[in-house]
Amino acid sequence: MTKYARAFYCNLPDDNNQIVIASRAWNNTTGTGPSAIYRIPLTQIFDDVWFIGNHYVGQYLIKTADGFVEVDSGNTSGEVQTFNYPAMLSLGLSSSYPLKAVFLTHGHGDHDGGAKWLLDNLGARSYLGSADAAGKNYAPITIDSTNLAMRQMSIGGKTFWVLPTPGHTSGSTSAVLEVKDWGRTVRVLINGGQSMTNSIPQVAQYLDSIERTYAMATVLNVEGVMTPHIYWDGEGAKLDEINATGRTNPGQHVYGHENVLRQLAVARECSASWLTKLDTTAVLPVWRFNTLEFVGGNPTPTKVAAKLANGWGPLANQKVTFSVGKSGPACTAMTNSQGVASCAVHPLRPHKDELTASFAGSQDTEFVDLPAETTAQVCSNGNCKDK
């Protein structure tokens, strides 16, 4: 990790205050002065997405078939005029290829400070959580913050799965959208707002929001993240890397589904920890991130076994299901004291079938054991390279 990547998903107001304050010094909006070194040039991160901003906060420019959609609007109108507008011009902004809409993660000035300029000069309306919309001078189109359900919205003609995630602000909204990574469609998460306060109800909301975000990322099979505050998850280092050596394949912002869920699970634990500091009577179960691995390499027709474990060790007495596809042969077994479940699936065809082991998750008052799944090709002897 580089100097910019603190990766502190916790973002707790006590120990991390100094980190936050330090990162605020990177919020250069003019391109001048000592902090200008923290500006990040227009950087392509996906086939159709560019980042622009600084090491504190940035915006994402998304190219669609007939115009741009922007995520967040910059700190100020001056920043937009100096950086975002020229960036869009360089990418083809014109009367026939306009900025169609802006999705605002929440109503703080470092996210919506340029919304009025974009409305007045480019005619682009901004979408904002209704709970943050009071008093805004850019006539936002509101996303109902009181409806906490995930739903699809067309924003500037692009499909967003939006999820109101109050906590950082009452009107924070997270979203998932599809982007292209070297031609492959990838779903990425946009976090609606990071960092917690010292308020019990707000932190309780924040915790609930992260738990619902985890559920959204799970059901939508999210593989990547685009965070406005790039210091939050080390994304700044990835942008530096892209600018130094170019985009990788898969791109730097494609973390993989499991890693996205791990990231959110860490963020959830941090939020739970903070809530129990503010209210010592709250009893919150620990979220445990589980992994399933086939025992002894790939499964074979005579050996179907997988181990379920987490940071605490093996997970015993849990049901694991083995199946070929969704409707193929299957069996279920309970894990033993070593976390290993084993049963027989008939028939299994070496080098033809893929076997999936899955754990649906479980919970009690102490722990929430998160679901886990793994898939591997069936081989004759545990090693598919050696037929």
């Binding site: 107001p13 006590d14 205050n17 936050v20 304050i21 990162s23 605020r24 919020n27 504190y56 906060v57 700190n75 703080h108 000035g109 470092d110 400070g113 009181t146 409806n147 950082h168 602000t169 960092s195 306060t197 010292n198 308020s199 019990i200 109800p201 707000q202 309780a204 500091k277 503010l278 209210d279 010592t280 009577t281 709250a282 009893v283 919150l284 179960p285 919970q363 008052t365």
Partner: protein, 274 residues
């Protein structure tokens, strides 16, 4: 874990209008999705199942606290309504049954303990109305501060614990009080609070200060029970919130859970200097 269920509010007699929020609990009868109530060490009988149901009615957020006996539908025992009025945030809390009408004292105590845990998660700067088993219009008082309301709940809970038929352990609840402490009045970011328990000033206690939208600090109290610190904007857009200095500061005492003695978590709202 969640269960979709009819509320069955036929159990609830009379008008259940929640003060100015004007939500009739019977209107929630269409379908409320219940999930397990948050777990709290305050609740002495965790074997008694309590559920939470939520509904949004216009600008009003309604939370139902319900007891669910084995094999039965959830039975609402309290309703919390919150909304924004011209005067600021408002919360109306309505216990739907008086203590004596609940099946057992244990159930009554558990409901009150859950209610305290839920009340703690309400907006501290709100003004609270409380109707205890009577229609809200007959409420004796409808302008509690958060701390006053929490104290009132603790008092009612202590009464319920003292009932002869109460069989639970009933860990003793102790109320902690906070009051403003002298700070540099010229600096709106300097905050201080004095923390006092029934045994006098509390030393070594952590107090969390919060000022909307996102300024905060944490302080430990000295021998005199006074905790002071300087608010820090935890986000990067402090210049866009020029109203910050005029916002109230909420001090939170996080509670102290020890065997046989709970010091209850509570809050105190420090109003800005005029």
């Amino acid at each position: 874990m969640s269960k979709r269920s009819k509320v069955g509010l036929a159990l609830v007699a009379g008008s259940l209008l929640a003060a100015s929020c004007a939500v009739d609990a019977r209107s929630l009868d269409d379908a409320v999705v219940y999930s397990a109530a948050p777990v709290s060490t305050l609740v002495s009988r965790r074997d008694l199942q309590f559920k939470l149901g939520h509904a949004q009615r216009g600008a009003c957020r309604v939370t139902l606290l319900a007891h669910q006996a084995a094999g039965a539908e959830p039975r609402p025992v309290a309703m919390i309504s919150s909304w924004q009025s011209d005067q600021g945030a408002r919360v109306s809390v309505h216990r739907l049954f008086q203590s004596a009408t609940l099946d057992t004292s244990d159930l009554d105590v558990a409901a009150l303990e859950h209610l305290y845990a839920l009340a703690l998660r309400q907006e501290p700067v709100a003004r609270f109305a409380f109707a205890d088993g009577v229609p809200p219009c007959e409420s004796a008082r409808d302008d509690y501060s958060h701390a006053e309301f929490l104290r009132e709940l603790a008092r009612i809970r202590e009464r319920a614990v003292a009932r002869p038929d109460h069989r639970g352990t009933g860990v003793a609840w102790h109320v902690v009080s906070m009051a403003p402490a002298q700070t540099n009045r010229a600096d709106a970011d300097e905050v201080g609070i004095r923390v006092v328990s029934d045994q006098g000033p509390m030393a070594g206690t952590t107090i969390f200060f919060n000022r909307a939208p996102h300024s905060g600090c944490v302080a430990r109290s000295g021998q005199d029970g006074v905790a002071t610190c300087r608010l820090v904007d935890q986000h990067g857009d402090d210049e866009s919130h020029s109203e910050d200095g005029a916002a109230p500061v909420v001090a939170t005492f996080p509670g102290d859970v020890r065997a046989g003695r709970f010091l209850l978590p509570t809050t105190f709202v420090l109003q800005p200097a005029p």
